[in-house]
Every structure is written in C-alpha cells, then in structure tokens.
Symmetry: C2
Subunit: 242 residues, 2 copies
DNA sequence: GCAAAAGTGTTCGGACTACACCCATGT
DNA sequence: ACATGGGTGTAGTCCGAACACTTTTGC
C-alpha cells in the first residue's frame, strides 16, 4: 500500500474517541423473513437526517474500533430491536454518486429470520420499523432498491445450492410450508409428490411424530431439520433445480 | 443513517483535491491464471511502506471520486501492468486488527486471466510482480493469506455452478486442457470419457476442425467456447458435480 | 512395437418427471 | 357429500459412474 498516506493527527485523535465513526463507510442490512407464504423484507423509516420520512434498509455508520459484523448487529438491534441474528456479508456498493453530497461506500449484509420471533422496536434514528411483502415495497432511499434486488437475487441463488429454511421456518413445520417457502423464493410452482421425495431423500428433515392441530383438513405431519445434516449440506452445497 | 455525523470541513477540502484517498478503505485483488496445468496467483512485492520487501496481493487506496471497480483496475494496472480484466467483487475484510497501526477495511476483487497474454510490469509502489503456483505461495502481508484462501474457496464454488475457462484458457484448446483446469481447481482426478460427454452435451464448446501440432502422440481436436451458450449458462447457472 | 494421449462404446443403477390415485378431516 | 390438503405409487426417461476398448502419432 501507499506509504505516502499521512496517518498522523487524524488517526491519533480518532482512537481517543471510541464513538468516532469511519467517514465514507456505512452498513446496510437486507433482512428476509417468511410469513403467510410470503417473503418479507425488514425496512426502517428514517426519523432524522437527509432521508427523514423515507423508507430504507436498516443501516448506519461503523465505529472506528468495531468489527464489520459487530457494527451490523448493533445497527440492526438499535434500529429495529432485532438481535441474535446470523448476518452474512453480501457485497460493498460504492458508486461515487450513490449517496448525496459526500462519498459513502456501504457494505451490505444479509440475513434470514423468523419474523414471528421478533417484536419490532424502532429506535435510534429510526422513526418506524416494519415488514414489507416483497411484492409490495415502497421506493427506497439512495441505492437501496438496487441493494435489495441484489440481496433477493443472492437469495434465489443461495436456495439452489444450500439448504434453507432453518432460519425462516418455525422449529416444527409441515412439508407444505417448506414447499411454499421454496415457491415464494423462486417464484415457481412445484410438484408436491416430487418435492416430498426429493427432500426426504436428503435425510435433511426428521419426523417429529406429531400432527398439525386445528386444521380443517387432514392434519399434516410435522418435521424438524436435522441440524448436523443441514450443516453438512450447507458446507458441501448441493443442487436443487426445479 | 445518523444525521449527527459532521460532514463539514473535511468533506469540502477532500473534493478540492481529486487525488485525495479515502482513509480506512483499500482494495486488494486476487488474480488467478492457469499455466502448465497449474493454478497460479499474481502477487506483488512491496517496494516501500510498512510492508516493504514482503509479498502481497496487488492493492492500494481508493481515490475520493473513483468507483470501486475503477480503483481496482487502476491499482492492478499500475502495480503489475495487467489491464483490461473483468474484475468481480468478492467481499470486504474489515477486522479491526487486520492492518497495523490504523483501521483499514479492504474490499477484495477477483479475476481469472490468461497469464500468457500479459507481460508483467512492476510499477507504482511495487518492487516486483510475479505469478506463484498456488501450491507454493510465500507468506503474505497483513491478512492476505486469509483473503487469498477466501478467493480460492470462491473459485472452487464458482466452478461448480458456472462455466469457467473462457478467461483462463487460450482461444483454442483441447478437451484435456479443459479437464486439467477443472482438476487443478477442484483438486480431484476426473474420468476422461465422462468429462468429454458432459461438456459436449452442454453445447458449450465448438469444434474448430483443427488439430494440435507437434505433439508426440495422437493430436487432439481443438475447440473454442460458444460465447452465447457460455454467457447463457453463466447467467442461468448449472450444476457440475464430480 | 511401445508409450501416450485421443476418443468411442456399453452396462447399470439411481434420480427426476408427470400424473393418477387414495386418505383423513372439518363443514 | 365435498372441499381441502396429506400422502403414496408407478411408468418412462434421462443421466452419470465405471470401465473396457479402439485409434492415432512419435520415437
């Protein structure tokens, strides 16, 4: 790297103020959940600043002595109340014109969660936090539409090569729920018998020996993921074409 | 985002000096090539600065008014002479301790090229630029060992889901060369007849109606990629398990 | 002839598709 | 009875793994 960069005064003063943020660098989170057979996205409404009143991906500034992941966790929790989530890094977005008035590069993170497990608590600079159906999104701030699309494409790709659903479905679920999850993400209709067999053959799910309750039709069997198989398949990858 | 961030004096002075770099943010490139049936990595030896004399991934600082991709291109060309390369963004690496003495987050880029097409011209802050066999790498600066491993894992993943070779092989190549490329990346031995058939069935390659020259055995047929099929498969993705 | 790599053929089993069909439960 | 979703069976096809085999060329 270039040794001619001056690292003197600025650097020293920055380490003296732990809340000092890194200029020109932010984080944004693309958080998906699955509810009522629909894919959803977590958005926040800005309560102050240049984007006040507009919807955007949850995000913000990184502190000088903070790991990227920690910053993403902190921001997500402070803005929406959502915590203890496995965040995955997507990609940096850094076009010179993506942010008004100054140069800001943002690093996008990605997560899949069960919205039922979290109560949303808008906080920090967020006036509101809400789940939006992926088919009915508002127009977003900055280049967040683009980042969201990127995250959705990534999810579609991911679902074809890794098991998915562990973080999106309740602990016990039916095969139809799993199928509807795949259908919602891939935007296709799948054949039930073949889907069942394909999943069963993977040894990915375990029969809970329990039935659905209070349904107005034959009660379906409940299943849960076999965590060790799930993790193995996640690591090795597989092919799930339809 | 946080509106309380002060963007006053620093910002204005930065836009007045176009060569001003962004503090705390750098770029590093993981460049692969394929030569003599071996996978290779492009490295530079630092000629100045805190890493002087050590080998590292080609990289450096981003200018204030420069797109991320442009910065990656510029740095790669100035350091090594390699230009006109399709660079793909990998991921940001931002641990607080990854760079000595100050906080630097680096964005890693990835490319596959034919080393035969490029003469290396070390320049800028690089004292040397060289191709290294992936099996015989020196110890690298900062966390570049980690970034390189990440790039290699990414390549292994990529090769299973996308066609590869267009950028790594000469225009006309034999099926054995293509097979050896896959073998080098995946570190496995493949069955020749089955490999042939699999590739042929994809309609990915076109018979050049030419033979190898000056080989001490039966001359193999030469093939070239069908660019339209290649791009379609790249977009759609496929499955290449062995 | 022999080495080395090119290239073809054949068998077998597993996996995916498409679709018909029966089962259980609430209204 | 019938609607709704749960769940099984089956015939046909395609594809990949394994491996034996023939062809071409230089030495």
């Amino acid at each position: 790297m270039d040794s001619k960069t001056k690292t003197g005064q600025n650097f020293i003063s920055e380490t003296q103020y732990p809340d000092k943020i890194i200029e020109a660098l932010s984080i944004d989170c693309v958080i998906f959940s699955f509810k009522n057979s629909h894919l959803q996205i977590l958005l926040v409404k800005h309560g102050e600043g240049i984007g006040k009143g507009k919807w955007a991906l949850p995000g913000g500034w990184i502190k000088y002595n903070e790991h990227l992941d920690s910053a993403a966790y902190r921001l997500l929790e402070h803005l929406t109340g959502v915590k203890d989530v496995y965040l995955e890094q997507l990609q940096a977005f850094g076009n010179t014109d993506r942010y008004p008035g100054k140069r800001v590069i943002t690093i996008a993170f990605f997560a899949l969660i069960q919205s039922e497990n979290y109560e949303l608590h808008p906080g920090f600079t967020a006036a509101d936090a809400k789940w939006f159906d992926i088919q009915q999104l508002p127009d977003l701030l900055y280049d967040h539409n683009r980042i969201l699309r990127f995250g959705y494409e990534y999810l579609k790709l991911k679902v074809r090569h890794e098991p998915i659903g562990f973080n999106l479905l309740p602990e016990k679920f039916t095969l139809l729920q799993l199928q509807e999850l795949y259908e919602a993400i891939l935007e296709v209709k799948l054949d039930k018998p073949n889907f069942r067999r394909k999943i069963m053959k993977m040894n990915l799910i375990i029969d809970c020996k329990e039935k659905q309750q209070n349904v107005s039709h034959r009660a379906a069997n409940l299943y849960r993921f076999d965590e060790s198989v799930y993790n193995r398949l996640k690591k090795e990858g597989f092919n799930f074409e339809f």
